[in-house]
């Protein structure tokens, strides 16, 4: 029998307890023996929960109990959670987590401690919720040189953009509706400004290209600036507006990692990932293009990924060598402003000015007195140097 401690009894933590209980037989079969929750750490008590007897308030009880082999961190954030995860690993326990903020901030350090202690530090649930992506990346694509990975990594913003596209509604209106439905937080900044997607693309980039990427070094634009005009121009161009996190290897061997809304061809598989769903595209030199699709959040999808990591940690008593990366190297990070891509530009300039500033650009006609333009491949630096007065600009995938 393997004993587990769950840190934090919120949405994910209670989901983990539920999945471990409901699917106990299947899990025992796959883990080669029973998996039992011994402790649940929370500041609160849960007198009405069937797990109330397991609740403890002092982390050191877990830290010092040699019977606890696996710790499932479900607290979130990068302060208390980080401290407890570090101490768990140092105490020789496997740690599994869905905490993208902590992994994006401290992944390299925590993986290094895990390696030193020969235990697992696994975090499949931190990206894409229940969609398997980190393990396939690390294991199934190990024979590929990955050239690019991008995805719709945040369900809330994808829901908002889908509504804006399908109903012609504006951002503020759809955001209020999403908040009323519980799809968006009262303070929606982590979703709509992009930091959530940023943390996830940092983790995907690290695993794909072998080096930690710190979120503060990543160009991050959310969707708060997307207007109904942008949506209308996208439709004219037979494209859709999607918020993507993207990490792409450039010819000089550097990796450019960034988050931005994109114009995406309507025929692309990723354009068809709608509502709260996530989709992640991986390009490898041998496998070509593959996509992973599913619910990127939610109590049970996320909990099922955490529990799968628990089972995997039990089955691989030593650390999994293939889930590891080196520390960040600023010299290997490419400059977003220098990345060559096509651009959509919204402007109030006249046709002659546009032709002079961006020779060869394609006009998309007028919406509400503004003109839409599609450029050829050029860097953001070159676009800014063109001198054209822009009311909005969005890269084209």
């Amino acid at each position: 029998m393997v004993q587990v401690a769950i840190l934090g009894f919120g949405t994910v933590g209670s989901g983990v307890a539920e999945v471990l209980t409901q699917n106990a037989d299947a899990i025992a079969r796959k883990a080669g023996g029973d998996v039992r929750v011994k402790y649940i750490l929370d500041t609160r008590d849960f007198p009405d929960s069937p797990f109330s007897d397991l609740v403890v308030h002092d982390f050191s009880v877990i830290e010092s109990d040699p019977e606890v082999q696996v710790v499932a961190e479900c607290i979130g954030g990068a302060t208390v959670a980080y401290d407890f995860v570090r101490r768990s690993l140092l105490a020789g326990k496997h740690v599994v987590t869905s905490n993208k903020e902590m992994v994006a901030a401290h992944g390299y350090e925590l993986l290094s401690i895990a390696r030193e202690k020969n235990v697992n530090f696994l975090f499949e649930a931190s990206v894409g919720g229940g969609i398997p992506i980190l393990r396939p990346l690390a294991v199934c694509f190990s024979a590929n040189e990955i050239s690019e990975i991008y995805g719709i990594l945040n369900g809330t913003t994808n829901y908002i953009l889908t509504k804006m596209i399908n109903e012609g509604a504006d951002f503020d209106e759809v955001l209020r509706e999403a908040q009323a439905k519980g799809y968006a937080e009262a303070n929606p900044a982590a979703d709509v400004e992009g930091p959530d997607a940023c943390r996830k693309i940092c983790i995907l980039s690290a695993l794909s290209f072998g080096r930690h990427v710190y979120p503060e070094s990543v160009h991050t634009e959310g969707i708060t600036g997307i207007t109904t005009q942008d949506i209308a121009f996208a439709e004219k161009a037979n494209m859709k507006v999607k918020l993507l996190g993207r990490a792409v290897k450039t010819d000089d061997g550097k990796v450019v990692c960034y988050v931005s809304p994109h114009f995406v061809p309507a025929s692309a598989q990723i354009a068809r990932v709608d509502d709260v769903f996530n989709g992640i595209v991986v390009r490898g030199n041998a496998v070509g293009e593959t996509m992973f699709y599913g619910r990127g959040a939610g109590k049970l999808p996320t909990a099922s990924a955490v529990v799968a990591d628990i089972i995997d940690a039990i089955n691989h008593a030593g650390q999994r060598k293939n889930i590891f990366w080196e520390d960040a190297d600023p010299a290997m990070q490419g400059d977003y402003q220098a990345l060559e891509q096509c651009w959509f530009v919204r402007t109030d300039a006249k046709e002659a000015e546009i032709a002079a500033s961006l020779p060869g650009a394609k006009l998309l006609g007028e919406v509400d007195g503004q003109v839409g333009v599609l450029t050829g491949p050029m860097s953001l630096n070159a676009l800014l140097e063109s001198g054209l007065h822009m009311m909005g600009r969005i890269p084209v995938l």
Copy 2:
């Protein structure tokens, strides 16, 4: 250094040699040391190949060489390949393969020998080419009770159906074109009659539900009977015709596994998997619905999956416990004819007859003097007992 023998130097075998060579540095990093091809077994010689020195004609050279730790079987078929794989496992070597025919026919026996010898028998490339699906199923969904798995598992038939849908062309015409382009074999039966998809759904079902499924026990219908009328009726119903392999758990705990064309709602993610691409949908009780998408065949995608298995075998010297299933149990296999689903029916009967035979069914109007009908949920047995004269019938997903 780990030494590998490649059995068969056809499309996949030469792709494996190529990937191992081209991506040697990345592979060495991930496998913890160099991976070198020591032998290539083939009946032919390849004087012009850079690998010509490695070619041997006698399998016993490989079998008796203790330096060969991993055998990559790329011969295909279930006769010679089966003999060599069995002997390789019995000699204590890991075996990786893309051979779906052999795994579907002998998977349980070969997995049992591998378990006994504590070596790996891995076959990620046998389903979905380079798309990671078997390992995610075994590892990432281990906390789920899987209720259903289905997919577009054969690229050739998906290419043909996509052409029929987009161009209104008929089956024979598109097949000839696909043969001319090299997308379909001169003898296309293994694709168009369904056996290729059948082998793949057998493997997916075994891994999802824990028991071998022998292809000869699986109801298998291909696409040779699909007419332009079927395609036209599907469009009227806002659906698409897709060939699916499907394994679904029914309320009595049995699993119904079958291959058939389906009417699929045009809005479903799987309906948007077109041309030679594959897509596989997994439903779990915790994760909900996820989909895996990519190229299901081709030299390099398939080879990259074989090589990833080589790396995984090296990294997990003992057998992976989670890639295993028990022998078939006919008592656990549900009856396709008793499975309740909605049906599309094409008939020359009059409206009154249809209403009498299938009360409540929805009419899709007429095409070429035939009437299209959508029924409610009912078994094929009940549909056949209705007495309606049917010119075609297709289950609705």
